[in-house]
């Protein structure tokens, strides 16, 4: 009886101490997380994009906008159409971020292709570097996120992003960007944009998963990242990316 009372006090004390530092129930009772629970350390997320496969339909833009309630006029992902004529500066357009796709191209004597864009979730991200309060950060599983409850809205990160992926959300007055659908991928789902791509041009990949097709993709294809000279270590890889793309 004495021993069990002591145990009771011990557990009670432990609960109090751990609860006071915000511990989870699992930590308090000492239980292991479920075997299929998401472990950040086991993942390193990124995306592969096959330029040849993108048809510029804008499904990804619409899906992202709906899934993440992206405010009108701002984009977590968008698609650009490049029209490249020999010896001339490329003509690029992205009407409403390609929310409604693209008008048909009338010329056939030029090179043209679509380039889906999103946050590159850089491993050496300049946006993370410049945030004065650490509100934007690289998660242990390789996703660049913004804590909307901590962001000041100073927009230094917007200036520092070489890819134009960030904006100030007028609804929250904090900086917003692609989260790689973090709420989905941590539940074992793919991103909204990848799920809705009719041609499989964009695929979520996990570099830490040895069985992920990304390894074969990188081995067998000529791939490129955007603005490699920025040395930001982007994790969005493009297959057959033209040199004119910025």
């Amino acid at each position: 009886m004495d021993a069990s009372r002591r145990d009771l006090f011990k557990i009670g004390g432990k609960i109090l101490v751990l609860a006071s530092v915000g511990a989870t129930l699992e930590q308090i009772v000492g239980a292991e997380p479920a075997p299929d629970a998401y472990k950040m350390a086991d993942h390193w997320w990124g995306m592969i994009i096959d330029i040849e496969e993108c048809i510029g339909c804008g499904n990804c833009v619409r899906a992202c906008s709906k899934e993440n309630k992206v405010p009108d006029g701002y984009f977590r992902t968008w698609v650009e159409r490049y029209v490249v004529e020999e010896g001339k500066q490329p003509q690029v357009e992205s009407p409403k971020g390609a929310m409604d796709g693209f008008p048909p191209l009338t010329r056939e004597d030029v090179k043209s292709f679509f380039v889906p864009k999103l946050c590159n979730h850089c491993a050496d991200s300049p946006c993370v570097q410049v945030c004065p309060v650490g509100a934007t950060f690289l998660s242990p599983d390789g996703v660049v996120l913004v804590d909307p409850n901590y962001c000041l809205g100073c927009r230094y990160c917007v200036q520092a992003c070489p890819y134009g992926c960030r904006y100030l959300n007028p609804g929250t007055d904090t900086v917003d960007k692609c989260t790689l659908c973090y709420h989905r991928i941590t539940q074992g789902l793919t991103t909204a944009c990848c799920e809705n791509c009719p041609t499989g041009a964009r695929q979520l990949v996990d570099f830490k998963n040895p069985k992920d097709p990304v390894h074969e993709f990188l081995r067998k294809n000529m791939v490129q990242v955007l603005k490699p000279y920025m040395a930001t270590q982007p994790k969005v890889y493009y297959k057959d990316l033209d040199g004119s793309v910025r």
């Binding site: 000041l152 809205g153 200036q159």
Partner: protein, 392 residues
Amino acid sequence: MIAGVDGFMYPNEVELQWSLLIVLYPYITGLVAGAFILASLERVFKVEAVKPTYRLALLTALAFLLVAPLPLQLHLGHPERSYEMYTTPHGSSAMAMFGFVYLWYLTVVLLLEIWLEFRADIVRMSRTTKGLQRLMYRALTLGSQNVSPAARRIDDQVGYIVTVIGIPSAFLLHGYVGFIFGSIKANPWWSSPLMPIVFLFSAMVSGIAAVLLLYVGSMKIRKTIIDMRCLDTIAKYLFYVFVVDFSLEMLDLIHRTYEADESFRSLNFMVHTKLWGSHVLLQICMGTLAPLAILAATQLWRFSAARRRMLYVVACSLTEVGIFAMRWNVVIGGQLFSKSFLGYTTYKVAFAAKEGLLPSLALMLLPFLIFVVLVKVLPPWTADGSAYKTHA
């Protein structure tokens, strides 16, 4: 086709993120740093001729420093969270140190130096005034009533040390503002190791010119004689610093033009179109070459005192326009072109909006109001208009 956009901008780039308020920020901090460095000329480098402006320069620096964080604060999406810069500064962010640099400069350098400089006057006024004024001055003494020659000597010695510390601090304050822009590798218009040093020299130029204008204006209002030896000396220093500043800016321009990296075509086009008025005409021609020519003329030829005064006022006024244009061109110019180098956007200043012209004008007037109050509370001159001889 998006209104105001030429060519292609990434969709999130169309709207400028840093507005007129962020133009004010480097402009105001520049005035602070420049005014302080002018004050230190007299204190540390023993340039006696500028003594009439010593106290004036300190008060000018304080008036502007008190306002310096306001444009930033107003610009934030969540100003109520700005305390996070102090509680959880992010070590790798160039911006994170602003709060600390600012506090250091305000409290350790400027307030301390002003208090030491004015302490004897504060004590005197705490004894000679009545009512609320007396209470205020008593509070300002901070309980230190001893104004014996020995105590004043200590004030002077500590004040000297504070000024010596203050010079690198002033360099830090504004060089640091330049670094905030210069360290952004994504933006070729900003990214330059010369940026901090260009900002620093332009700060000195704007601060010295501002003190000269405030000195002439104050003397005119007080109807007292302007010390021409002082004015000539300030103008001479302004000329020298301006030559260095202009050389640095031209070096940057020549380097960019000669190197002509992938951003050059885009930036060059911007300078010749959207920035032509503010960069070439306002900043370079009207705000730099014209005042430099005027100041050079006053160094080369003899003019009457009245003519020199007029020339100095014109040169300094043009200088202020030029330096403001420089800040504008850096901040706004750096956001008018796409990081794809394929297009340009437009910036239209709103009027009564949160980051519009009206709050900006109010923020630019505020330091002058503070200056007037400071001059009333802590008079920088004696009854006959001459400078106080408070320190050796």
